[in-house]
């Protein structure tokens, strides 16, 4: 190991500028990363964090400026060079091949899968060692297509570690981990740092930034607006720096339950590959309450979400909607019965990337509200979309641009507007703020709270325990398709909920989803 006492600069960015047409994504950004250092990159959506990292990783070419790695200039726009020099990146949107197994994905790009020298046994053994060391539990032989979002993230991190990355770039890495898992990841990251790894950590969770980083860089509108030693700053200051003004999270006080709007009793659904179905689940969603569903990714959240979305029907058990039983239903009938659905993946499930805002805004209601005898009423659809854009503060050039050009936050605001305009009685919000910046998070949470206050029943599914605890009137934990009893707000400590999330506390004779 290097015995330098002076921390050496492993990465230097100098005057990085990148424009996309008229939009400046990065403007004259310069900073150094030292050996064994963690710097946090903070910024709202569209502040240019991801673009900057993509330039560093060689996926984009900077219009101006230079990148220096370990004292050597990095040829611009060459992912191979960055990889070979020891930069590993874990993207926010995963870059895995669904049809390959975990270990195949990990060696992909390092070795040819058909190379004779490739010894799957050795590869898998190394993956197992790494995954134990870093508490990244995942089966090397599992097909990636069957993994949950949380597990895929672990594969992404393992992929970088497997390649002996010296610099690790993590784009919103904890979004899908339990507090315990995140803590474990931090602990091992800290160890790895001690052995010389450097980390660039992109996150919007300020307490994580405070916990793991040495320095914080704040990006706003593509420019580096502030740099703080983590010791010398606090959450309030960082939040203010990020958005350019003081922010306040919506304050939410507990509400008493109203009448039950949706009731599941002893509902089961089939397993779907590695994702467990529901196991004799009882759940009541009461009017005027936010019910939080905590749990580790891949424990039946998808099944419950699909059930309430109308994508699947219960195989056994009873489902009651406002007092009347529902046997089978579809997405369309769920919408018709007043269920607003905010899907987990807004890029794949929530929107159609190459449709414009209008076409996306009417995706659920085109048949009932924007067409007559088979003819679309585009004028009305467009007017409706303009209204949504106004009401829900969707920042965009207009209703005619393709939605793929919007930031995640603005995309989510459009989805939110689309479902809330129908004044729904029941709202299913599955990871509604995943990957959003603080401004957008507060906005989405505020809207959910408003909907609750006017009497809607909200089911909030999230893998972010902070979010659950901040918003929910009642908290349930889901583990392997089973549901814990409901806990009132404030009655449980995070560590106690964590124990339920790990599967403790459920009936001993409860079915095992092995």
């Amino acid at each position: 190991m290097n015995t330098n006492t002076e921390a050496q600069v492993v990465l230097r960015l100098q005057g990085i500028t990148k424009c996309f047409g008229p939009v400046t994504a990065n403007e004259d950004v310069s900073f150094d990363l030292h050996r064994g250092e963690v710097i946090a990159l903070l910024g709202e959506n569209g502040a240019g964090k991801t673009t900057l990292m993509n330039i560093l990783f060689g996926q984009y070419t900077a219009d101006a400026g230079a990148v220096e790695l370990f004292g050597q200039p990095l040829p611009s726009g060459a992912p191979r060079a960055a990889l070979d020099a020891g930069v590993g990146m874990v993207h926010q949107h995963f870059t895995l091949a669904d049809n390959l197994t975990v270990w195949e994905n990990i060696v992909l790009g390092v070795d040819h899968l058909s190379a004779l020298s490739l010894k799957p046994r050795l590869v898998k053994a190394r993956i197992r060692t790494l995954s134990e060391q870093f508490h990244l539990k995942v089966d090397p032989d599992a097909k990636v297509g069957r993994l949950t979002v949380g597990e895929r993230q672990r594969v992404e991190i393992l992929k970088a570690l497997y390649r002996d990355a010296k610099i690790l770039i993590l784009d919103e890495p904890t979004a899908v981990l339990t507090p315990q898992e995140a803590e474990a990841l931090f602990a091992t990251l800290r160890e790895a740092i001690a052995t010389g790894l450097s980390v660039i950590f992109i996150s919007h969770k300020l307490h994580e930034v405070m916990a793991i980083s040495h320095r914080v860089l704040v990006l706003r509108h593509g420019k580096l607006v502030a740099e703080r030693a983590t010791d010398a700053t606090n959450r309030e200051e960082l939040a203010a720096l990020m958005v350019g003004s003081e922010v306040t999270a919506p304050s939410i006080e507990t509400r008493a339950p109203g009448p039950a709007l949706l009731k599941l009793s002893k509902v089961s659904t089939p397993d779907h590959g590695a994702a467990p179905g529901l196991k004799l689940l009882d759940l009541t969603l009461a009017a005027g309450q936010i019910t939080g569903l905590a749990g580790v990714s891949g424990n039946g959240q998808a099944a419950l979400s699909n059930l309430l979305s109308g994508l699947i029907s219960p195989t056994t058990g009873e489902m009651e909607l406002a007092g009347s039983p529902v046997k089978t239903w579809s997405a369309r009938s769920a919408i018709a019965k007043g269920i607003a659905r905010i899907p987990e993946d807004r890029h794949k499930t929530g929107t159609i990337a190459d449709f414009d805002l209008t076409e996306n805004a009417i995706l659920e209601t085109y048949a009932s509200r924007f067409s007559r005898r088979g003819w679309m009423d585009w004028a009305r659809a467009r007017a409706f979309t303009k209204e949504l854009i106004q009401t829900y503060d969707v920042r965009c050039p207009g209703p005619d641009i393709r939605i793929r050009l919007l930031s995640g936050g603005n995309m989510q605001k459009l989805i939110l507007g689309r479902v809330l305009e129908e004044a729904p009685q029941i709202i299913l919000a599955n990871q509604p703020v995943r990957g959003l910046d603080i401004g957008a998070v507060n906005y989405v949470h505020g809207e959910l709270a408003k909907a609750r206050d006017r009497g809607a029943a909200v089911l909030l599914i999230s893998e972010d325990l902070d979010e659950i605890m901040q918003l929910s009137d009642v908290i349930h934990v889901i583990s392997e398709g089973r549901l814990s009893p409901g806990f009132a707000r404030g009655s449980m400590k995070p560590s106690e909920l964590g124990a339920w999330m790990a599967g403790h506390g459920f009936d001993a004779e409860a079915p095992d989803a092995a």
């Binding site: 984009y60 769920a334 679309m376």
Partner: protein, 349 residues
Amino acid sequence: MRLEPIATPTTARRIVPPMLAIAATFLVAAILAMIAGGNPFAVFGLILTGAFGSKFALLETLNSATPLIFTGLAIAVAFRAKLWNIGAEAQLYAGAVLTVILGTGALGLPIYLMLPLCALAAMLAGATLLLGPALLKTRLGVDEVVTTMLFNFIFLLFVSFLLEGPLKDPMGMGWPKSSRLIPEARLPRIVEGLRLHWGFALALISALLVWVINTRTTLGYEMRAVGQNAEAAGFAGIPVTRVILKTALLSGGLAGLAGFSEVSGLKGALTLDLSPGFGYTGIVVAMLALLHPLGVVVAALFVAAIFVGADSMSRAVGVPSYIADIMLASALLFMVLAILLTKFRVRRD
């Protein structure tokens, strides 16, 4: 070399690459023409005059474009919804068979009933043929590329059987050929004395209708949604399976119309060489048109002009007319590349 996506392509960026693609196509053809011993300018000149140079040539081109417009539309409609219909050839023959069954004297209706009936039956036949693979796809997940393509061979052999057996013209001196359509089942010529038949007008109207369906109707919206992102469409409550089946019916129906138009407008009887691969060429037409229904008309005219022109050129200077096939194939390849370049920028490392 890498590709970098362009967020908002400029107008020049959208127009220049396709132009270059056409230029490259002609360059390749010019080289081949020189190898074959011809003067490329003379060859292109002859192709041009062969396709558009006289009233006869022009009408010939329009007639040749007619089935390509139908099959191109059939493919464009299906591909838009990501239903990979490679079976337009079989659907075309299905339409032709139905036209022959109804139009050779089995029914004695006046022309204003006979023609719509034949057209409708042809559409229904083509639609039914595609419905099978579409059901297999939606019910069992069977790949429709395989089923529709293989069905072409099965159906062509079936037509061959029909022409040797039940549909064989008793006066045909043993040729595998159907009886001729009765006059009431023949599409008349648009202008008396000129060879262009009403099938061409029907093709233009169909293109216009498909365009209206795509942009103005609920079904068009649903088909585009399902094609772009079936998962999001299904989540939003769009009945994905039903939309795919409707798309199949429309696509198969359009291909069936091609068969009706060829038999009723042009040939007057069914033979095994009714279509020299219109169903497959329709794929090229649809791709060249970027799946746009009005673009299909332009692309079909382009393709037909090259074929008709190359035929007359090869008679004049002896450069093989196969050059048309090569031009078509290279046009498609260059166009695919050009489309890529309208969306991505090439970066040199």
